[in-house]
């Protein structure tokens, strides 16, 4: 067993860390204040990342990516997690579900996404279908040889910058002994396609500037060529590829927790009350001890889940464990850090209040903590028939 990083991994980590510190941190306060990414900044970041050869580094070399292993890519995500999501979004990591593209879809969606020419967004959630994905109402029906889609998606992250969307839609119902079960199909939809509009979403307490949007489909007509994967095969595509977003959330949480932790430690070592540094009070120092223990544990859990993917080992349970633990750890670390900062931690002069707000969504998106626990316990009990 070997816990060290290779020279290449060390360099990947230090390069991405430096990029985030130099190119992202200086713009964070403005994004936070305005809720917008300043004009031109997104493209400028994208250009730099393309020049560095890091754009779409999660994609294999044969389609123009850098072919990083899951472990290497998780290290990249962990360092990116330190920065504002509104900005690190432009350190493009297209959805790896695009690897399911076939034929002409590769030239139209996959390859331009990898080259950084077209950005994608994933659309699954609906007002009445969150954790219960199969409860979706957005549906497509056959009309001639085409599909006609009607319905609404919401909470679609990154949709404001997306050129095309990967959308999950109900395409029928199967009657099963357990009751009706919807069939799901995944479509590729271009921005501006007739019958399809992207509307502003809600103002979220987490990740200002990283907008969520609403997608509306009104008699939106699409040919079979827009289907990603098989018709009615949406769930298979989802299961094959969407593990990656959960691992990303875990890695992001670890990176952000470390940044927050470093600030809390610096503050505790300097801030004096009752004639001494507050770090000298056990009430503070023991909290610091607990924080670093939890961060390290989440880090190792996340990296080992990525390592299992690289080894071809089952990792579903491990990824769920990493996601639930890292996001709940982040909640505790940001809350404790804020407590160490005291009243000042609540002021927007420091990014602590932002880390604290941003942390809240991590336990909700890409599968709530409850769904992760469901996955974990199901993997344990299913073999026992319970």
């Amino acid at each position: 067993m070997h816990f060290g990083l290779s020279d290449e991994q060390e360099m990947i980590v230090s390069t991405v860390r430096r990029f985030v510190e130099t190119e992202i941190y200086p713009h964070e306060a403005e994004v936070e204040r305005t809720g917008e990414v300043p004009d031109g900044l997104g493209d400028a970041l994208k250009r730099k990342v393309i020049e560095m050869g890091f754009y779409a580094c999660n994609f294999p070399e044969e389609v123009g990516g850098a072919g990083l292993s899951h472990l290497d890519f998780t290290l990249v995500e962990r360092e990116l997690g330190r920065g504002s999501m509104a900005l690190t979004h432009f350190f493009g990591r297209p959805q790896n579900i695009l690897m399911a593209c076939e034929g002409a879809q590769r030239d139209r969606y996959l390859l331009p996404a990898v080259r950084g020419e077209r950005m994608d967004a994933l659309a699954m959630t609906e007002p009445d279908a969150g954790s219960d994905v199969r409860g979706m109402k957005c549906s497509a029906v056959r009309d001639g040889g085409d599909w006609v889609v009607n319905g609404t998606k919401h909470f679609i992250s990154g949709a404001d910058h997306a050129d095309f969307f990967i959308v999950f839609v109900a395409t029928g119902v199967d009657e099963t002994p357990k009751g009706p079960k919807k069939r799901i199909t995944c479509f590729l939809v271009d921005r501006g396609h007739p019958g399809f509009v992207v509307r502003d979403g809600y103002r979220s307490v987490s990740h200002r500037g990283y907008k969520n949007c609403i997608l509306e489909f009104t008699d939106c007509r699409m040919p079979d060529a827009q289907v990603l994967g098989e018709v009615d095969g949406g769930f298979a595509v989802m299961n094959d590829w969407l593990y990656a977003t959960r691992l990303t959330v875990a890695a992001f949480s670890v990176g952000r927790a470390r940044r927050c932790f470093d600030m809390a430690v610096d503050y505790a070592a300097q801030r004096k009350q009752f004639g001494q540094e507050i770090a000298k009070f056990q009430g503070v120092s023991f909290q610091v001890a607990d924080m670093i223990t939890e961060i390290d544990a989440a880090d190792l859990l996340t990296l080992s889940a990525a390592w299992r993917l690289d080894q071809g080992l089952p990792a579903n349970r491990e990824i769920a464990s990493a996601k639930v633990h890292a996001t709940e750890m982040l909640a505790r670390v940001t809350d404790t850090s804020l407590q160490i900062f005291g009243g000042m931690g609540l002021m927007d002069d420091f990014p602590i209040e932002r880390f604290w707000r941003d942390a809240r969504v991590e336990r909700i998106w890409d599968g709530t903590s409850e769904i992760q626990r469901h996955i974990i316990s199901r993997e344990i009990f299913r073999p026992l028939g319970a």
Binding site: D7, E8, E10, M11, I12, S14, T15, E21, M52, F54
Partner: protein, 252 residues
């Protein structure tokens, strides 16, 4: 033309430096180390010369502890072609003095026969600003220090220098030692393909003894102390108040 670029492993510029309790120096235990930022600018310039077709090969060299290998790998990941590590110390706290470094570099230069040596004007750890000058004297080459612009034209180079009064442009004969200043360029990030290639690029390991150079310190550090802590500022309500405060402080 071959370009030789000396690079030094120093305490990272983002690290809050702490003086050792006994005042003998700066605490380097478990501290993040990086390439001296001025040397990074030198590496960048050398790579640009290669991209422009002026240089044919970029060789990075580092003198110090074995861990300086990481610094050289960074230079390779930025785009240098190969690297030479000269191990001259075991203890990370031992700084090799400028004259010893210059002597080793002169010996490396005699072996490698570069047309140009591009070095940082100084290292951010002890700010000596001496190695480049000593090196040019030892080699009997021209020198141009504090470069903010370098143009190579056959067997001479036009170098713009950042001097106290402004900018000075000089022409020097090649081969030359040029030390670079902050505004020469903005160093690139290591690219992912180059990071992956860096391990495969040659890195020769030598020792100071290989070049017959004695690195025993000649300087004695008497005391290292923290700079005086800056007092907190104050906020003023108006321009008039600002002027009054400045007058009070004797600043205007």
């Amino acid at each position: 033309m071959k370009v030789l670029v000396p690079v030094k492993r120093v305490i990272d510029y983002n690290v809050k430096v702490r003086v050792k309790a006994d005042g003998s120096g700066v605490d380097l235990a478990n501290v993040k180390m990086s390439m001296n930022p001025f040397d990074e600018i030198a590496v960048e310039e050398a790579i640009r010369l290669k991209e422009a077709g002026t240089a044919t090969e970029v060789v990075a060299v580092s003198i110090g502890v074995k861990q300086a290998q990481e610094t050289l790998r960074t230079a390779l990941a930025m785009g240098a072609d190969r690297a030479i590590l000269v191990v001259a110390a075991d203890d990370v706290h031992q700084d090799i003095e400028p004259l010893a470094v210059a002597k080793i570099l002169a010996a490396v230069a005699k072996e490698e026969e570069p047309g140009l040596i591009l070095a940082g004007k100084q290292a951010i750890d002890n700010d000596m600003n001496a190695t480049g000058q000593m090196l040019s004297a030892l080699l009997g080459w021209s020198q141009a220090t504090f470069a903010s612009d370098v143009e190579i034209d056959g067997d001479s180079a036009k170098v713009t220098r950042e001097v106290d009064g402004g900018l000075q442009t000089i022409s020097v004969k090649m081969p030359a030692v040029v030390t670079v200043d902050l505004r020469l360029n903005e160093p690139r990030y290591a690219s992912l393909p180059n990071i992956m290639k860096a391990k495969k690029k040659p890195l020769d390991e030598k020792t100071a003894a290989d070049y017959g150079v004695d690195v025993t310190p000649r300087l004695e550090v008497v005391k290292t102390s923290e700079p005086a802590e800056r007092a907190a500022g104050i906020k003023v309500g108006s321009v008039d108040e600002l002027i009054a405060k400045l007058k009070e402080a004797g600043a205007v």
